[in-house]
Symmetry: C2
Subunit: 84 residues, 2 copies
């Protein structure tokens, strides 16, 4: 059994209004940092996975993302895996 | 003036208890996905930055992270920049 480390970026889909991101952007502008725009806030999840192969590890974490970690209706997820 | 895109990974520091991550991990195990462990949940923030140089863009976004986007007491942040 091998062990893998996964890094998952979860982002709101294009076109979905990011209220939290907009609030942060407005706050940055109020604080005198006007150079920053298009702030979008997602989640960054790291896990460890036990699996026989990298393909199997990917299937396990992809299933977990679709069923629980991300909301596929409004979010995209991007998985990076490496053996540890 | 150039434009840069930043991707910022914000993670809880090692040793800080991640209650949300632990909850997700327990839920995954209850759902029949026991292969996943050490779930930790951070934030993934994307922005655009207007600056003269990549170094200047890094300084702007690093300042924004320290002042508002991340909490340096309990979180680390990792910035990736590319020109767009």
């Amino acid at each position: 059994m091998k062990k893998f480390k996964s890094e998952i970026k979860i982002t709101l889909r294009e076109g979905i209004l990011d209220v939290q991101g907009k609030t942060v952007e407005n706050a940055l502008h109020s604080m005198g940092i006007p150079e920053i725009a298009h702030v979008r806030i997602g989640r960054f999840v790291t896990t460890e996975i036990s699996a026989e192969t990298q393909e199997q590890a990917f299937e396990i974490i992809d299933k977990a993302c679709k069923q629980l970690i991300a909301n596929p209706i409004i979010e995209d997820h991007f998985i990076e895996l490496k053996e540890i």
